[in-house]
């Protein structure tokens, strides 16, 4: 077992984990944060995207042990304490940027990371920046609109 200290959505945790544990399973199974989904499990689809130290990462492709000392943010950590949606969540809601919703947490986290790096992306930049996330309901057009709306809202 390996000792890992990390902060998830602002709460510090100290856990002993098997070295082979992937971060997504710490989040889902140990901490009960099931908003982060496992989709392809091959680092392709991005459904498991979370922020590690503010940057988007695929949590199925990171060992919990590698996140030692890091700050992790999941979809559950975006809304404010009084449950007001994060501007990116609000934009996905208003622009109808989801159908089944399975990919949505990953898209939202990838968008938060994108807008931190590039607050005013062009449509082309948005599409390129989301190349690590797949939506099988063919919702890309509305997802792009949602990212544009979130950027306008200053997310």
């Amino acid at each position: 077992m390996t000792s890992v200290a990390l902060t998830v959505n602002g709460t510090p945790h100290e856990v002993d984990v098997e070295p082979r544990q992937l971060l997504v399973y710490l989040l889902r199974e140990t901490l009960g944060l099931k908003g982060t989904n496992v989709g392809c499990d091959t680092s392709s689809c991005g459904a498991c995207t979370v922020l590690v130290d503010g940057e988007s990462v695929k949590s199925c492709t990171l060992l919990t042990a590698q996140a030692d000392g890091s700050e992790v943010t999941t979809i559950e950590g975006l809304a404010s304490a009084d449950d007001e949606l994060h501007p990116v969540q609000q934009a996905f809601h208003e622009q109808h940027a989801l159908q089944c919703g399975y990919c949505t947490p990953g898209f939202v986290m990838a968008t938060v990371s994108l807008l931190q790096e590039n607050p005013n992306p062009s449509e082309r930049e948005i599409r390129q920046a989301l190349e690590g996330n797949l939506c099988r309901c063919t919702g890309y057009h509305n997802i792009v609109r949602a990212v544009e709306a979130a950027a306008r809202a200053g997310a």
């Binding site: 390996t2 992937l22 690590g132």
Partner: protein
């Protein structure tokens, strides 16, 4: 998919990493893990020990050194893309790195880790051989420098000894360079990738996915040095290569892509 069990050691320094590697024949280095973890999950790799060097922040840097730029092996792709020195003095590397994987992978994956993984389809392998990059390795017997053209010894194998690790990659400042790749879909590996650079007045051409290692298109370079036009030289892009046939493309199609992409890259140079 869950990796097979392994024991895990976190190295606090390069010296400690070398010591940990020396202790176990079955040890493997973990940098950003963006290539290694998928292979662990598929159980293609089943190391007994993983030596995690991901915390060695002193191997994350970009420094100008005369006509060269020294890059710490653990510099992440995203940091390379953002680096102003590289954009000004070796934009070929900046632009090629922007095409590696996707943003999430670029946030964790490292330049040295990608090169050491030695995927014949790697964008950065083609760029490294085109640039005649120099790879600095450290082991129990000290430091040595390996030219990129000698670093890749076969598919997923490199010239590092069992107890050595890559600490730095040195690339020359180049004013002109182009990287083009053809891929079947977003974030796919390069069906074929082509890196072209003017290094000290001579045009170098690197190829990805045209054989078991990143390659130099020697026949193209020779033709250009002899005064051939871009179009004529590019016709020789597949000479001396053994392009693989797989689900993405036949060997013949890869040879065709290499000729087209080399011509386009030379025309853009």
């Amino acid at each position: 998919m869950i990796p097979a069990a392994f024991s895990y050691e976190r190295a606090g320094s390069v010296e400690e990493a070398i010591e940990l590697l020396s202790r176990d024949e079955d040890a493997k280095l973990l940098a950003g893990g963006q290539s290694l973890i998928p292979t662990l999950k598929l159980r293609i790799a089943r190391p007994g020990v993983l030596v995690d060097i991901g915390g060695l922040d002193d191997l994350r840097y970009v420094r100008e050194d005369g006509d060269w730029i020294a890059i710490g092996a653990l510099t992440r792709h995203a940091a390379i893309v953002r680096d102003a020195v590289l954009e000004r003095r070796c934009a070929l590397l900046t632009h090629a790195t922007e095409l590696v994987g996707d943003p999430q992978i670029r946030h964790r994956g490292t330049f040295g880790g990608s090169l050491a993984h030695a995927d014949p389809a790697s964008d950065l392998g083609a760029v490294a051989v085109a640039l005649d990059a120099q790879l600095v390795a450290r082991g129990p017997n000290g430091e040595r420098t390996i030219p990129a053209t000698e670093f890749f010894t076969g598919p997923f194998t490199n010239a590092l000894a069992a107890h050595e690790l890559l600490t730095e990659i040195r690339v020359p400042a180049v004013e002109r360079g182009v990287y083009l790749k053809y891929q079947r879909s977003a974030r796919d590996w390069a069906t074929v990738g082509v890196a072209v650079a003017d290094v000290g007045g001579r045009v170098h051409v690197g190829l990805a996915s045209m054989g078991g290692t990143p390659l130099r298109a020697a026949a193209v370079e020779e033709a250009l040095a002899g005064g051939a036009s871009a179009a004529d030289a590019a016709e020789r892009a597949a000479e001396g290569t053994e392009p693989p046939a797989d689900i993405s493309a036949s060997s013949d199609y890869r040879a065709h892509l290499a000729r087209v992409l080399v011509r386009r890259a030379l025309e853009q140079l």
